[in-house]
């Protein structure tokens, strides 16, 4: 990952200076719910931002945050400290969100397919306010393009990482990203 996520998760790192696992994480791994609550309060904002941007629904994003941390609690013993806990949690969050998209979105197939037909031209862009902000513009992207755009440009994953997480080819991810940027550019310039 680069840029934003790396910057944020380094700050939130829970790998101590000696390279081992932070005591709070270790206590959480041993079943200490209060320690896990501390981890939640440290990392929830970043996970919420991820969920909110990858979905277009505030309530769903909050549900996903809960799912991510419940899943994190279940799997915390598998965290070995090779990365920061923030990075581990973020990756877990991406997986949880992608699972939700695949299981609930009517256009889930677009996550896999190229998704060429629904955007990329001026005529297909929805009419929106001139004052639209980036997060609002994201809503108008198809699920696949939105996923790739958020993961790459906002969360800092590489195309290879996105390919691994979503199951699409890296080249497809790249093409989706370019089209998403073009569509956003037009939406935001209106």
């Amino acid at each position: 990952m680069n840029a934003r996520v790396r910057g944020s998760t380094d700050v939130l790192a829970t790998v101590n200076d000696a390279g081992g696992i932070d005591d709070v994480v270790r206590r959480a791994q041993q079943g200490d719910v209060e320690a896990f609550e501390s981890l939640y309060r440290t990392h929830a904002a970043a996970i919420y931002a991820l969920c909110r941007r990858m979905t277009d629904d505030e309530r769903e994003a909050r549900d996903l945050v809960q799912d991510v941390f419940v899943r994190a609690w279940e799997r915390l013993t598998s965290f070995r400290g090779q990365s920061s806990l923030g990075t581990w949690l973020h990756r877990l969050g991406v997986n949880v969100v992608l699972e939700r998209i695949r299981s609930t979105k009517r256009d889930a197939a677009r996550l896999i397919e190229g998704d060429d037909s629904t955007f990329g031209s001026h005529s297909s862009a929805p009419a929106i306010d001139a004052s639209i902000d980036l997060d609002a513009a994201l809503v108008h992207l198809p699920a696949g393009a939105r996923t790739v755009f958020v993961l790459h440009d906002m969360e800092g994953y590489s195309h290879d990482e996105i390919a691994l997480m979503t199951g699409i080819a890296a080249g497809t991810a790249r093409a989706q990203l370019w089209r998403a940027r073009r569509a956003l550019m037009r939406l935001l310039e209106r």
Binding site: Q30, V65, V70
Partner: protein
């Protein structure tokens, strides 16, 4: 690329805007952009978008209020540490390991144990049935057999009653197990129940056979122990 007639490709424009070009590629692209108004305009738009992306603050929301629900779900899901000294003989397991993982982890030992029991029971049955002395003793000792059988049945009832209490308790927790763990548990219980049923049949045919009775008692104890471990874990 420095010639105006050869415009930057989409890949080059995007890479220039998101600053992922090598220094050499960037230098060449800059030379082209200086001479090509069309590409320069397009790249400027993309660059503006990228700047906007990086300047957009992350969405926020009050998240403290989510914690009680998360905590409740954690408690309900019974992703709990196994009770210390639960008699698993598994000293290497961390206290915080989720119960469903513990269940799955014990499956191999559990199956091995039940497999040995079942094999031993079958062997014992065959040996006993082929033994003329035992067959004669069985025929001549009908009263003794009946008393022994009643004793076995009483003992079995006691075990089954204990198992039922534990199963009722487990039923409440089973819904909280992950599907794969619940399925594994169902399968393991089925295996041990089959073994117990076969041993009960064998004991019914030969109630004075101490080996069969011992095997049956051991099977019951193992079932009860398994149920206790699972229920105690929560």
């Amino acid at each position: 690329m420095t010639q105006v007639e050869t415009h930057l490709t989409e890949e080059e424009r995007q890479a220039f805007a998101d600053d992922s070009m090598s220094p050499e590629q960037r230098s060449s692209a800059e030379a082209h952009l200086a001479a090509c108004e069309s590409c320069a305009h397009d790249v400027a738009r993309l660059t503006t978008l990228m700047k906007r992306i990086h300047e957009t603050p992350a969405p926020t929301a009050p998240l403290d209020e989510l914690w009680p629900t998360i905590r409740a779900r954690i408690e309900q899901s019974k992703v709990v540490p196994l009770a210390a000294g639960a008699g698993t003989g598994d000293g290497g397991r961390g206290a915080g390991e989720p119960v469903h993982r513990a269940i799955v982890g014990r499956r191999a030992r559990w199956f091995a144990s039940i497999g040995v029991l079942a094999a031993a029971a079958i062997l014992a049955i065959v040996v006993q049935m082929r033994s003329p002395a035992n067959r004669a003793a069985a025929i001549s000792g009908a009263d003794t057999n009946e008393a022994a059988f009643i004793a076995v049945v009483d003992s079995a009832h006691a075990y089954e009653a204990e198992a039922k209490v534990l199963l009722d308790k487990l039923e409440l927790q089973r819904a909280m197990l992950r599907p794969d763990a619940a399925k594994a548990l169902e399968h393991d219980l089925h295996v041990v129940d089959v073994a117990i049923a076969e041993l009960k049949d064998a004991v019914a045919r030969d109630p004075n056979n101490p080996a069969l009775r011992q095997l049956l008692a051991t099977s019951y104890r193992q079932k009860v122990d398994l149920l206790k471990r699972i229920t105690n874990a929560s």
